[in-house]
Symmetry: C2
Subunit: 153 residues, 2 copies
DNA sequence: TTGAAAATGGACATTGACATCCTGTTTTGC
DNA sequence: GCAAAACAGGATGTCAATGTCCATTTTCAA
């Protein structure tokens, strides 16, 4: 139900948040997120156009998040690459359903609304600080501490 | 986020429920639901293989629901044509995430779970008897009464 | 100044969703 | 039995999502 591109974009953003504010290269992100590099670069370009990430060419360059991870919701990321299209008018074009959807499309739109709300309430920072779960993109929980040390070298 | 095919399948099933237990031809369904007939026939075939509908060839034939509308959930319909794939294991294949998803995939799976639950709780019959909304696939609420009369001619 | 690192953009391949068409098969009514 | 109604299934076409490749541009540092 979620496209591959959405999954890839979220992985990339989580990786960037995990390393913020250090810039990361497409190569690094690709390796860690297991997203094919050429395609990842397209996804990142897309995120750039939508002002989710900023990129810097040349040596020492790379990609960084525009916002702080605790101010960036996953809804913003999803909507940048593949907007959640709520159902506003009757898909069949029935005029009498214009303002009031029929129960079928009401239910479908409700489902979309639930997902939208859930994603709007979740920041990227929360993905990294969750107590119970394992750490995104990392094989071993121990790796978190390791990265924290390594980050500012 | 929902595929065209899912939308088509739901329209067809709602139409069939609205006319149950009378059989409807692909032509009738296609006209009412605005689904292209050749493609609709594929969708119906698919629903047939998944035991959601039963079809009868020949003069006077057509398609009918296998279950009563109040016993058929829209989740069953959706899962027949395009199963909601919950996230059970880490998409990156990280072994340590095997049983416990990382927060990212937890959130994504939660969204899927919400949709799944919502669809599981909704029967096709509910689509037709909703008090407030307009009637599915019908331009005018009055048309409901008309069809009720016409149904058993 | 020059070379290496890195993103950018355009062109191209692949795949699956969506859609159409045609032929065959089953069923009914005469 | 025959003709018409209706679904079944295979072959094919189209397009967007996904994925790849390469030349170009930008940036930094030696």
């Amino acid at each position: 139900m979620f496209s591959q591109t959405v999954e890839y974009a979220l992985r990339a953003v989580v990786f960037l948040a995990d390393h913020a504010p250090t810039a990361c290269t497409t190569d690094q992100i690709s390796t860690a997120t297991q997203v094919p590099k050429p395609y990842l670069s397209k996804v990142l370009q897309n995120l750039g156009r939508n002002n989710i990430v900023r990129s810097q060419r040349g040596i020492g360059g790379g990609v960084t998040l525009v916002k702080m991870p605790n101010e960036l919701t996953i809804l913003e990321v999803v909507n940048a690459v593949e907007p959640i299209e709520r159902i506003h008018t009757c898909p069949l074009g029935l005029k009498s359903h214009g303002t009031q959807l029929c129960p079928l499309h009401q239910r479908m739109d409700e489902a979309l609304e639930m997902v939208e709300k859930s994603f709007k309430q979740t920041t990227v920072a929360e993905m990294l600080s969750e107590p119970g779960g394992s750490h995104p993109l990392c094989e071993n929980p121990k790796a978190v501490a390791y990265k924290q040390v390594k980050k500012r070298q």
